[in-house]
């Protein structure tokens, strides 16, 4: 019997790329080595988590895929030592629902809870607390890896041959991640004390970021149609209160592909209303469950379908603080001139904590994330122009969000890429990696 018996279609979040081919679904640790020795294994394979990456980094057309979701067990949970060792297919949602009743929390959370631990490591994801906590990989103590050439092995940060650093942010290329051991934080309550503040210049935004530097989480939304205007939100864990996981209720699902124009207009209108409300009077801090703060979009299942059949592209870059303001200003100008760009951008601050991975995306500076409805070549041209602004400001793009950056630009942004290539499992490949490593 082969583990690659079924042909399936797997996608990524932006819906501009997909995979159709043989998919293996291992369920037990012992199935992983067998995936490599399978007589019908395609020449190359790639691990797939929940496909929450937007572009082609989680796809391997022409080869095979290994869905890791069936490996979703806890191997060890030590509440006193605050350590969780779990299989890589467990999602952040599942982990939080087990951890929060015990007053434990994950130190770094991306903007959706539908991400696997393996995916969180492979893209070294960041949250709204990078300045104080760094990226996900900083909290990883050990990783269980299965490779075609070395079998099952463990890697840790003090690993001499650099395989740990290559795996964190390594986009799944260094082996199948079987399990992850991660240090946890403690919370007194699953509620957050959240405050929104409207601003109308960039200087104000920076001031707010600095003034609220002691908050646990900080993020801002800016209005691309009126550069400088935005809403800054910061939050801290409530000192006392209940420890409740997010509710299990079914989220409202988007039933079909909505025409793209609905989304941008509608969100912008909502944003403006909130903005005007905040301008009229400061609301002061409110109490909110972590899920509504951290995962605002998870309330609408399949919201990516709102962009219509052709899908969308997300663009996320980080720009070093020196010259950062000018570069962002320039990007927003280009976007609003193009007229069909994003209406809202999410802005976060990255700090100077050392990056755990060879290819980790975060570096000190400001990060900007924008959605663009896919309009084919026109969108690609716009994004290419943005790439040039990012590059000349010394910034780089987030591979998890990319599906089109040129090999040239990528190699310039990530000069370490050859070190990852040297540690890549020869039986693993992705469409993203093939594209960006072309000479």
């Amino acid at each position: 019997m082969t583990a690659f018996a079924r042909t399936e279609r797997l996608g990524s979040w932006g819906r501009t790329a997909s995979f159709e081919g043989a998919v293996a679904r291992p369920r037990f640790a012992g199935d992983l080595p067998a995936v490599f020795s399978d007589p019908e294994r395609p020449t190359t394979i790639l691990a797939h988590g929940l496909g929450r990456s937007y572009g082609d980094s989680c796809l391997n057309p022409g080869g095979g895929m290994v869905s890791m979701r069936g490996l979703d067990r806890i191997l060890q949970l030590d509440p006193a030592a605050r350590v969780l060792r779990a299989q890589a297919g467990m999602t952040i949602e599942e982990a939080l629902s087990i951890l929060t009743p015990k007053g434990l929390f994950l130190p770094v959370l991306p903007g959706t809870r539908y991400v696997t631990l393996g995916g969180a490591v492979a893209n070294d994801v960041h949250g709204k607390n990078h300045t104080t906590h760094g990226s996900f990989g900083r909290w990883v103590r050990r990783i269980g890896l299965v490779r075609s050439d070395r079998g099952a092995m463990q890697v840790s940060p003090d690993d001499p041959d650099g395989l740990f650093a290559a795996t964190v942010g390594g986009m799944g290329l260094t082996g199948l991640i079987a399990w992850v051991e991660i240090a946890l934080t403690q919370v007194q309550s699953t509620d957050l004390i959240v405050e929104d503040v409207a601003f109308d210049t960039f200087d104000e935004y920076y001031e707010l970021m600095v003034n609220h530097g002691d908050s646990d989480y900080r993020v801002a939304w800016i209005d691309c149609t009126r550069p400088g205007y935005g809403i800054f939100t910061h939050a801290r864990h409530a000192p006392i209160g209940e420890t409740q996981p997010h509710p299990r209720t079914k989220a409202f699902a988007v039933p079909f592909d909505m025409p793209g124009f609905l989304l941008n207009g509608a969100t912008l209108a909502l944003f403006n209303r909130a903005y005007r409300g905040l301008k009229r009077r400061r609301h002061g801090p409110r109490r909110a469950h972590y899920s509504t703060f951290h995962f605002p979009l998870d309330g609408v299942r399949d919201w990516n379908r709102l962009y219509g059949e052709r899908g969308f592209r997300q663009y996320q870059c980080v720009i070093p603080d020196a010259g950062g303001r000018e570069a962002i200003w320039e990007m927003l100008r280009v976007i609003s001139k193009a007229g069909d760009g994003s209406f809202l951008a999410v802005v976060k601050q990255f700090g100077r904590l050392p990056q755990p991975g060879l290819m980790s995306f975060p570096r000190e500076g400001v990060t900007l994330a924008l959605d663009f409805r896919n309009r084919g070549q026109r969108t690609l041209d716009l994004l290419h122009t943005l790439d040039e602004i990012v590059l000349s400001a010394g910034g780089r793009l987030y591979p998890a969000k990319d599906g089109r950056v040129s090999a040239n630009h990528f190699q310039y942004m990530y000069p370490n890429w050859r070190e990852l290539e040297a540690r890549r499992d020869p039986a693993i490949q992705s469409s993203f990696w093939k594209r960006v490593t072309r000479a």
């Binding site: 018996a5 079924r6 042909t7 399936e8 279609r9 679904r25 369920r27 037990f28 640790a29 012992g30 069936g70 067990r73 806890i74 191997l75 060890q76 949970l77 087990i98």
Partner: protein, 252 residues
């Protein structure tokens, strides 16, 4: 609200995807569990997870469930380990390759013995135990395949149909034994290793977690036959009603 009394559950075929999803529900309610399958390594992988998810105790037992000679003794032994048995879930099964079973006697025998004979003997032993206790819930997983013979899976279907009749009889018998109950779950199409070679696109497929939620509810209340999900009751009503001359023209 007071917490329900702690459940003490024996799961036969605990490595099955559906069974594991059920076990997680029981574990989250601090149940004590005996999980039985035939690969100790895999069972331990499951047991660690269940303990971390809140199970009061988890005991793993490796056993070929189709070869056990003394099921009643096993139940007593497991009962000693976890302080009694309040629930038994019979989840093991094998689909078998229909075409092969038409000519290969051993293959056909394996499917018939696993899905019917072995499951039936375990069910009878559990029924005895619960009848004596005058309490306990026996849940066995049958299949909609047992509702009508179809050329694509009738050997498997026949065994599941037999198990269905047996469970019906046990439910009748336990009706006179205090709070003891027996429930047959009839899943439709479920995305598990058993169906790993099939195309799972299409709206009829359910995830193991959905079936587990139904099984878990059936452990607390409800009738003796539960389709999972419920829509299969109507689908199978229609399929059973198809006249043979129509049925024989389908590829079902």
């Amino acid at each position: 609200m007071t917490a329900p009394p702690a459940r003490r559950v024996v799961i036969l075929g605990a490595q099955s995807a559906i069974a594991e999803a059920c076990a997680r529900r029981f574990a989250a309610e601090s149940a004590s569990l005996v999980i039985v399958g035939r690969d100790l390594g895999r069972l331990n992988e499951i047991a660690n997870d269940l303990a971390a998810r809140g199970a009061a105790q988890v005991h793993a037992a490796a056993l070929d469930l189709a070869a056990e000679q003394r099921p009643a003794e096993r139940f007593l032994e497991w009962g000693h380990r976890i302080g009694g048995v309040t629930h038994v879930l019979i989840a093991f099964g094998t689909l078998g390759d229909q075409t092969r079973m038409e000519s290969d006697v051993d293959a056909a025998r394996l499917a018939l013995e696993t899905n019917f004979t072995a499951a039936a003997l375990w069910a009878l032993a559990a029924a005895d135990l619960f009848e004596r206790q005058r309490s306990g819930v026996l849940v066995a997983i049958g299949s909609v395949a047992g509702d009508r013979g179809r050329r694509s899976n009738y050997v498997y279907g026949a065994a599941k149909a037999g198990l269905g009749v047996l469970m019906q009889g046990i439910a009748h018998r336990l009706h006179h034994a205090g709070d003891a109950r027996a429930v047959l779950i009839k899943p439709g199409l479920v995305e598990t290793p058993m169906t790993g070679h099939m195309d799972v696109s299409g709206r009829l497929w359910a995830r193991p977690e959905e079936i587990a939620a139904i099984i878990h509810r059936a452990g607390a209340k409800g009738g003796p036959v539960v389709y999972a999900p419920a829509r299969w009751r109507w689908i199978m009503l229609a399929i059973r009603a198809l006249p043979a001359f129509v049925m024989h023209h389908t590829r079902l």
